[in-house]
């Protein structure tokens, strides 16, 4: 397998469809050894993650928010890219389950001396890693790690490609707020730098599988390739729209998710200026007024306030940004718990 950054690739084609939950079926188990993306996870399995997350939320509300479920399990967190919330969220989640946590920041590890990814993975496995949580700037890197690693690999974000735990915590947060706990027929607008967003790519899988009407919105330079993906999705019966009109995307939306402008991944020519972007595509109170009253405002963080989201919207009554962070711990506890079972089989 060769690793190429998605920058030069078209967005990934829709591979394995998420199957619908058979009515009245017993809850399924978790069969996956790795969590690399949500595209191979079935809808009943997503429901299992959501239910397990409910139980983890209850654990977090306890006077002692710690259970011994993963006692003796080594969770190694290997991040090749900067992160606060995802890395700390995984660490807190693993510790709440009584796992042993090893943190490796690539910048201060032997990676800085030129050690390859495969060698690093072999080394951490030799040092006892059983679940490897990994973030990498190259799309597909966790797939390469999974070929080598004897335990479970969890993708904590790879390049532009996927961020499965974020998509699952976003889904959980939306379901907690939407009446009936369902996204069926709900309009979800994803606004901003879709092109560089692994959050958007993973969210498209889960949200369309949940029956939501997904609208991707941004300057056409930041939507490149998604029209084709949208057509493929429509052929699968997924509701999926691509537009550069903020008004169309936000009109009567139930959820508005703003995405960070990823300056570090931005090659020249995609945007005239941040100021112009903020003026034309920033999520402001005026624009939000076009959405359904009380629509949820979400952001995967970290936020560039005043660019993709206005400070008063980010901190406003409709914002669930901090709740996303809290739910992230519970979702990651659920996933670590489920993966620990698959690992031992």
């Amino acid at each position: 397998m060769t690793l190429t950054d998605r920058e030069s690739d078209a967005p990934p084609a829709i591979a394995v469809p998420i199957v619908d939950s058979p009515p009245g079926e017993q809850p399924v188990g978790w069969p996956h050894r790795h969590l690399l993306d949500v595209d191979t996870v079935t809808w009943p399995e997503i429901e299992l993650v959501m239910r397990t997350t409910d139980a983890m939320k209850e654990v977090l509300d306890r006077p002692i928010a710690k259970v011994p479920a993963l006692r003796g399990v080594n969770v190694t967190i290997l991040f090749y890219e900067a992160s606060t919330r995802t890395r700390v969220s995984f660490e807190v989640a693993a510790k709440n389950l009584s796992a042993d946590v090893v943190n490796i920041a690539a910048a201060t590890s032997s990676v800085a001396k030129g050690e390859s990814l495969v060698d690093t993975v072999r080394t951490v496995e030799a040092l006892g890693a059983q679940i490897l949580v990994m973030r990498h700037s190259v799309s597909g890197a966790p797939y390469l790690a999974a070929e080598t690693f004897g335990g479970s690999v969890v993708n904590g974000g790879d390049g532009w490609h996927a961020h499965p735990t974020q998509a699952l915590l976003d889904l959980y947060t939306m379901r907690a707020h939407l009446e009936g706990g369902s996204l069926e027929g709900r309009k979800v607008a994803i606004l901003g730098d879709v092109l560089h967003s692994r959050v958007a790519r993973s969210n498209i899988w889960t949200l369309t599988a949940a029956g939501a009407d997904v609208w991707l919105c941004g300057p056409s330079t930041l939507l490149r390739g998604f029209e084709a993906w949208g057509l493929r999705g429509a052929a699968d019966g997924r509701r999926f729209h691509v537009t550069s009109s903020v008004d169309d995307a936000l009109r009567d939306a139930d959820v508005v998710m703003a995405l960070r402008i990823q300056k570090e991944r931005m090659s020249s020519g995609l945007l005239p200026s941040l100021r112009e972007y903020a003026a034309r595509y920033g999520l402001t109170a005026d624009r939000l007024a076009g959405a359904r009253p009380g629509a949820l405002v979400m952001h995967p963080g970290p936020m560039n306030e005043g660019v993709e989201i206005a400070p008063d919207v980010a901190a406003g009554a409709q914002s669930v940004v901090e709740e996303q962070v809290r739910n992230g711990v519970a979702v990651r506890m659920a996933l670590l718990y489920l993966l620990a079972g698959a690992r031992s089989s």
Binding site: D54, V67, P68, A340, S344, S345
Partner: protein, 188 residues
């Protein structure tokens, strides 16, 4: 595989009422008493005992539900993680006399896990144990304070408790094992 009845609905009803009397007698009243059912079939049994206490004593005893999944000692042995059913303890455990309620007492490992879980929520004055069926074969030094029926079994047999709230009928059945128990079956 032929299942044999070892308790009928009527026998279960009488055993539940007797256990409710025993619990009150041992506590000399209902003050400070709380019932905690172990998921899954211990929960409806705990509610029934609480109902019987309410009928006989005229006082309400709080009932909680305890999921012991995260405290099991065999998580690394099962092929897939058991589905978590949730814990709900809507009362203060500190200083309370907690009666754990479960359907079958077998190895004692479920009860060990339940006690570990319980003490994470507070410090009860005492923990007691009520079970509908004690089938023997303990692997830990644990015994029940209140037993609906003692049933001598072999390890090759499976005891199944059916409760109307979950299974649509009340019955205790005994089976000779032909196939392996499902991974998510309770350990105790």
């Amino acid at each position: 595989m032929s299942a044999r009845h070892i308790m009928t609905a009527e026998e279960i009803r009488r055993a539940t009422i007797r256990i409710s009397h025993e619990i009150v007698e041992k506590q000399a009243g209902t003050s400070g008493l709380a019932l905690v059912g172990i998921q899954r079939r211990g929960v409806p049994l705990a509610r029934r005992i609480a109902d019987a206490i309410a009928e006989n004593e005229g006082s309400t005893v709080p009932v909680g539900a305890l999921d012991i999944t995260f405290y099991r000692d065999d998580l690394s042995l099962v092929a897939q993680q058991p589905v978590v059913k949730g814990t709900d303890l809507p009362f203060d455990l500190n200083g309370a006399t907690v009666v754990l309620v479960d359907d079958v007492l077998y190895t004692g490992r479920t009860i060990r896990a339940a006690m570990d879980a319980l003490v994470d929520f507070g410090r009860p004055q005492a923990i007691r144990l009520a079970v509908l069926v004690d089938r023997g074969h303990r692997e830990l030094p644990i015994r029940a304070d209140h037993v609906g029926k003692n049933v001598p079994t072999s390890r090759e047999e499976v005891v199944r408790v059916h409760v109307a709230e979950i299974d649509g009928e009340d019955a205790v059945l005994i089976d000779r094992v032909v196939e392996a128990e499902p991974a998510a079956a309770p350990v105790g």
